[in-house]
């Protein structure tokens, strides 16, 4: 059972993520969008959406720090156990709660605003369930990990080790099996979410437009920019594709 959960499932999830994303990119570029509903309603969206998105960005960064950086490193840097946990708790709780509040506002908006609700597909609804489950269990583990609700648990000695071991293709199943149930549940929901990203509107996270900061303002493209188009020649035999100019 443990092997199945902590060795097979994660790899399957990652495989689905990679293959699924590739497949979607290949066959559904047209459907690859945020599917914004701002046109229908923007008052609630203005509050909920930034709250959720900025929250989840911090959450993701927090996950990376917590899972990727070994405890020994922070120890070596002189960050005490307690100090680490306090910052993780404070940051994690703030980010987690704003994410939750954001998603709550967004879901409320989806449910109560007629046009927005009509634009909600079944796919979206399923995605929301998975997302909210992951957020709530995540918040719970943050609080548990800090010893507020139940016994303190240092996930950096269990979950993190297992997480890193995944990438060496030698999953440390025992480490994960030792983690409390709450962490295990959160991990499973997380994996579920990861596996479904390619098939939901969540794909838009992969098109975060960082390139915007570096490209020239005005984009020029040739009409026959597609590589598989034939190259046209005009009367003088000049290849017209050369007309593709970029400022």
């Amino acid at each position: 059972m443990n092997t199945l959960l902590w060795a097979a499932v994660p790899y399957v999830a990652i495989a689905i993520l990679v293959v699924g994303t590739f497949w979607r990119y290949r066959y559904d570029k047209l459907g690859w969008t945020t599917r914004s509903s701002q046109l229908y309603e923007s008052r609630l969206l203005r509050i909920g959406s930034p709250l959720f998105h900025f929250g989840i960005l911090v959450v993701i960064i927090g996950h990376i720090i917590g899972l990727v950086i070994p405890e020994s490193w922070t120890d070596a840097m002189g960050v005490s156990h307690d100090a680490y946990h306090i910052q993780a708790l404070v940051l994690g709780a703030i980010a987690g709660f704003s994410t939750l509040a954001g998603v709550a506002i967004l879901i409320y908006r989806r449910r109560t605003n007629g046009p927005v609700f009509m634009a909600t597909t079944r796919n979206d609804k399923a995605m929301y369930v998975a997302l909210v489950a992951a957020i709530i269990t995540g918040l719970a583990t943050t609080l548990i990990g800090a010893g507020i609700v139940a016994d303190e648990h240092n996930y950096r000695e269990t979950v993190s080790i297992w997480f890193r071991s995944l990438f060496t293709l030698n999953p440390d199943i025992d480490a994960m099996a030792e983690a409390p149930l709450s962490f295990q549940i959160h991990t499973l929901f997380g994996l579920l979410l990861i596996a479904t990203i390619p098939f939901t509107r969540l794909v838009h996270m992969f098109s975060a437009p960082i390139g915007y900061l570096f490209r020239p303002y005005i984009v020029y493209r040739s009409r026959d920019a597609r590589p598989d188009r034939p190259i046209y020649r005009n009367r003088d035999g000049v290849r017209t594709r050369q007309r593709a100019g970029r400022r």
Binding site: T33, P115, M118, G211, I218
Partner: protein
Amino acid sequence: MKVMAQVAMVMNLDKCIGCHTCSVTCKQAWTNRPGTEYVWFNNVETRPGQGYPRTYEDQERWRGGWERTKRGRLRLKGGGRVRRLLSIFSNPKLPSLQDYYEPWTYDYDNLINAPLGDQMPVAQPRSLISGDPMKVEWSANWDDNLAGGPQLAVDDPVLKKVSDQVKLEFEQTFMFYLPRICEHCLNPSCVASCPSGAMYKRSEDGIVLVDQDACRGWRMCVTGCPYKKVYFNHRTGKAEKCTLCYPRIEVGLPTVCSETCVGRLRYLGLILYDADKVLEAAAVEDEKDLYQAQLDVLLDPNDEEVVEAARREGIAEDWISAAQRSPIHRLIKEYRVALPLHPEYRTMPMVWYIPPLSPVVDQVRDTGHDAEEAGNLFGAIDALRIPIEYLAELFTAGDTAPVDAVLRKLAAMRSYMRDVNLGRETRPEIPAGVGMTEESMHAMYRLLAIAKYEDRYVIPTAYEEAGRQLEEMSCSLDYDGGPGMYINGSGPFGEASGQPVPVSVETFHALRHRQTTDTLAGPENKEQRVNLLNWDGQGRPAGLFPERQEDGDA
């Protein structure tokens, strides 16, 4: 010098009768799909009036276009790149559906199925967005013909710039129509605002398009365009805009709006411009210099040096010759009667307008004077400061001198040509008074008043050479940007996901084939539709009417 070609348009506002035919045929061709109910790539607004979307010209509110920084550089008025990215989760300056209007249909079913009663059943308006009954309170041309009167017109941002006292007088004196499409700007702020880089300007003909495969629905372009000519398709979650009917232009046909224009007031042709100078021109300090700066960017296609440079850039010979015959070049640069719309947005728009003389003519006539006498008209131009200031706010960032000059030319043409038409002795001093020769006045008259089809539209068949290949390839432009025609339906990931059904570009032969076959939409086959994109204005477009049934039992 880097010569680039641009397909540009000029509209002669004196001739627009406000019939909205252009809007309707454009909608029929491009935006009759779910998600674009509220979208009019071409709209006709009455001025003074609020426009569509409401008060879009108020850039302090909507923050479209460019602004000049103190250091003389251009920056998006909506904020720099970082600021754009930070507001990506909820665009603070996006017009709501109410600013456009909530599209509706009528519950026609009720007319047939209502139970028998004393009252006539009515077809209630129903929102196309929520499906609920709604009260119709606004639309894309709600203040058509000054409907709503001064109460609505006072919110016109352009009118607000003309002083208070002027307003009342103004509304009594004049009104005109302003048909608008995307300006296919030389310095498009929509393209600059797109975080995904999905929007682009085609390097061959300058048409600005949205790559539907690359658009991620960030909605920044909607804010970025000061003319509000990029629209968000709320069903597909992608931006769409006027394509200048590129599939038609590519085969030498004018756009649908031009083709169907009742007033025959639209001109299409090429201009050559110096791409290296665009930014500099768009950044001149004084807004009032922008008109002149933009004129200076346009190159003279008859200049040998320009022609040489154009050849070096690989611009085909037939394009160069089309640029030399271009009505656009003549109206903008030679006769100087066309002006850009809102040059102060600094996007270097490429749809220009000949301002209307009719308010002046009407005024002269209404006061019982001879409205074709140059002296009277000139006098009225001098006296009617208000309309002229208004026009100047629209076309020259408030500088009345160019508007004055254009109106004088139009007035001069009017009275000079009267003499010609009545067989009287012509008066060369009239054209001379506005800096023209008799010859050029005749030529301008021919272009503006006679306006033959082949004079109005000089569209290079430069794809001619490619055209021959296109024929064999049947449809090669499938995946170019711009809203394609998707089959209306839902993919697994929401509306219009999946693969696009390509926009097929018709070659001349394919076109002929289309015109002469008798397939296409009958009621049995609703998915297909009347395709005005291929209609050259002759005969009836296939599928507009149900097919005739041979044995007459219909």
